[in-house]
């Protein structure tokens, strides 16, 4: 199978859906022909589909989401790009109070088929306003779906599904994933929301990881394997809906679980998954649940400081070894 980058996979998904459905259009800051997006995901799309459907906006995050929401409830399928996930804070009312709630507040009259794409993640030395992982904020808002693909294959299949979904979907990418390559078929495919992927089979311990952390978890699992510990690595791929069953089934098999996420530990996504395991599979656990996440600090700038706060293979291996004995 051919290999393409995560960035190209996202672009293919956007392009195919724009070709398939005239109501799909893109809007965001500098996504058009002059810049192609901060991470070049939209390269070539304005040239192919025109400036009306690949729409550069003013620097107005709140209005980007508000406008996308207004278009979504009147028959369009907008894909809005927020240049960095951190900037979603500027649009929080439109995301959390408007897009997420219109359908419910209006008794099911409004459909909000909206995708909001944004990159998360630390590791490129751009400090506290361009590096956060804020998925937990959105997981706490009923009405939003949340997608976090870790591979080019998942990125393409899930983005196509997200665009076709009738609910608002938060689509979180990771800036370190854009250049990574992976196998993506030439032919059409989609991936349903709410289906986790077992990225590596194992018997001794379950590692649940999201987004870029999936790759660190897989690397850690390889090293653990050399040391005689056989880890299963699960990527939920979507946080809402969350495929609890795949996680619970794995825990029932291994009796041990380590959760690896790049968000801050306190009230993070790992806290929710840990609670699910504690509620539904406590009797199967042979050891405490372990969490590997960022400490509760803003993301620092200086490389040694930044690397210190991001979970890595070592911290994952350490956590695994604390419960596999």
């Amino acid at each position: 199978m051919r290999k393409i980058t995560y960035r190209d996979a996202l672009r293919e998904a956007l392009r195919e859906e724009m070709l398939r459905d005239k109501t799909v259009f893109l809007l965001g800051e500098d996504i058009g022909r002059y810049w192609h997006g901060a991470f070049k995901v939209t390269k070539g799309l304005a040239e192919e589909f025109g400036d009306e459907r690949v729409r550069d906006t003013p620097i107005s995050e709140s209005a980007i989401i508000g406008v996308a929401t207004g278009a979504a409830i009147t028959g369009m399928r907008p894909v809005a790009e927020i240049m960095f996930g951190d900037l979603s804070a500027l649009a929080m009312d439109q995301i959390a109070n408007q897009a997420a709630k219109l359908q419910y507040m209006f008794g099911g009259q409004a459909k909000v088929p909206l995708v909001i794409r944004m990159p998360f993640g630390a590791g490129v030395n751009i400090a506290a306003h361009h590096s956060q992982s804020l998925e937990a904020w959105f997981m706490h808002v009923p009405g939003l779906k949340i997608v976090m693909p870790s591979t080019p294959y998942d990125a393409k299949g899930l983005l196509k599904t997200a665009i076709r979904d009738d609910d608002p979907v938060m689509f979180f990418e990771h800036k370190l994933l854009y250049p990574i390559e992976g196998s993506v078929p030439e032919e059409e495919y989609t991936i349903p929301l709410g289906v986790a992927d077992v990225k590596r089979k194992g018997e001794d311990v379950t590692i649940v990881a999201t987004l870029y952390m999936v790759h660190k978890a897989l690397a850690a699992a390889e090293e653990l394997d050399r040391q005689g510990i056989n880890a299963e690595v699960i990527d939920p791929r979507t946080l809402v809906p969350l495929d609890k069953q795949t996680i619970l089934n794995s825990v029932k098999k291994t009796g041990r679980i380590v959760l690896v996420t790049e968000d801050c530990k306190t009230a993070g996504v790992s806290a929710e998954i840990a609670a699910v395991v504690a509620e539904d599979a406590l009797d199967y656990l042979d050891a405490p649940i372990k969490r590997v996440a960022e400490p509760d600090t803003p993301i620092p700038f200086s490389p040694p400081l930044e690397q210190f706060v991001i979970p890595n293979e070592k911290s994952i291996i350490k956590a695994v070894k604390e419960i596999v004995y």
Binding site: A63, V67, G70, I73, Q103, F106
Partner: protein, 324 residues
């Protein structure tokens, strides 16, 4: 001036809003209305004057003080009242209440209770119209308070740069809750802000249904012709306080008294009589019909059932299965 039948219909709509709101006021006195209420009484000329220019397929967005907008856009009174009482037969099946009424079948895209949040959404409906290539338009209602939100700036600017077919209708009733406009703006006219976006700004007497109609007519023409948005400021006044228990003591008595002499309904009636569109007798008859109709819808709403409690779990997502 709109032709006779339309003018009489505008008068009827204004009366419907007034009597509807008086009834809501009465019902909450009887503890039949859960939560809070923001009454539209006094501002009828604005909603009716604007909506008289709209087609059924045109859109409006509304606010926490939105009953009048719904009625002016031809929403069903009984479904509005049922929603206000939290009944299953209401527009939102009891999930939205007074501050979140919507009727997508008539382009009423719903009321948002976050002040100023409707402006970008209205611009988005305008963008949708442009991309779909229809000649619909959007009327976006908001208050003087909303014009201090960032969304006012962001939403109008985006509508302006893309020449979107949107009427931004500021209902300036002088007070954002208890805060008088002069305490939070150095300008007298919100419409002056239109200059910052390079679009027309108009100031009209919001208690004069004809003045509002004429201004909105011009703005609607511009919008339908693809010439972009307009900011219309309607100077008006709410008869009651901001919300349920607000006695509005922050408003000087003289000011209230003065504005009550400018009540939009008798003013419009006078014009209709002068124009011979209406006789005094016909006017009385219309009002009697409206009073009767409002009584009937109250009966419907009061007698309607509440939703089953577990319906609280529905409509979070489009698919029936809940994400738990």
């Amino acid at each position: 001036m709109p032709e006779k039948a339309k003018s009489i219909n505008m008068y009827r709509k204004m009366l419907e809003i007034r009597h509807f709101e008086e009834k809501v006021h009465e019902l909450y006195g009887q503890n039949l209305v859960p939560g809070t209420i923001h009454l539209y009484a006094g501002q009828e000329a604005t909603a009716v004057g604007v909506c008289a220019n709209l087609r059924r397929d045109d859109y409006i967005t509304s606010t926490h003080r939105g009953h009048g907008h719904c009625i002016a856009k031809d929403a069903k009174l009984e479904k509005i009242m049922a929603e206000i009482l939290g009944k299953k037969t209401g527009y939102c099946k009891g999930k939205g209440g007074s501050m979140h009424i919507a009727d997508f079948t008539i382009g009423m895209l719903g009321a948002t209770a976050v002040v100023g949040a409707g402006l970008p959404i209205a611009a988005g409906a305008g963008l949708s119209i442009k991309l779909r290539g229809t000649d619909q338009i959007v009327a976006c209602f908001f208050g003087d308070g909303a014009s201090n939100q960032g969304t006012f700036h962001e939403g109008i600017n985006m509508a302006a740069i893309w020449a979107l077919p949107v009427l931004f209708v500021c209902e300036n009733n002088l007070y954002a809750m208890g805060t008088r406009q002069s305490r939070v703006m150095t300008i007298e006219n919100v419409a002056d802000r239109a200059a910052a976006y390079g679009i027309p700004g108009m100031v009209v007497d919001g208690n004069d249904a004809l003045a509002v109609y004429e201004a909105a007519h011009e703005a609607v023409m511009r919008a339908r012709q693809g010439k972009g948005p307009t900011l219309i400021e309607c100077k008006t006044y709410r008869h009651k306080g901001h919300s349920r228990f607000d006695p509005a003591t922050y408003r000087p008595k003289e000011e209230v008294k003065n504005w009550l002499t400018k009540d939009p309904i008798p003013r419009f009636k006078k014009k209709l009589l002068e124009k011979d569109f209406l006789t005094e007798k016909e006017a009385i008859q219309i009002e009697e019909e409206v009073v009767k109709a409002v009584e009937a819808i109250v009966k419907f709403a009061v007698e309607s059932p509440y939703p089953a409690p577990e319906e609280a779990l529905e409509d979070v997502y489009t698919q029936k299965e809940a994400y738990k």
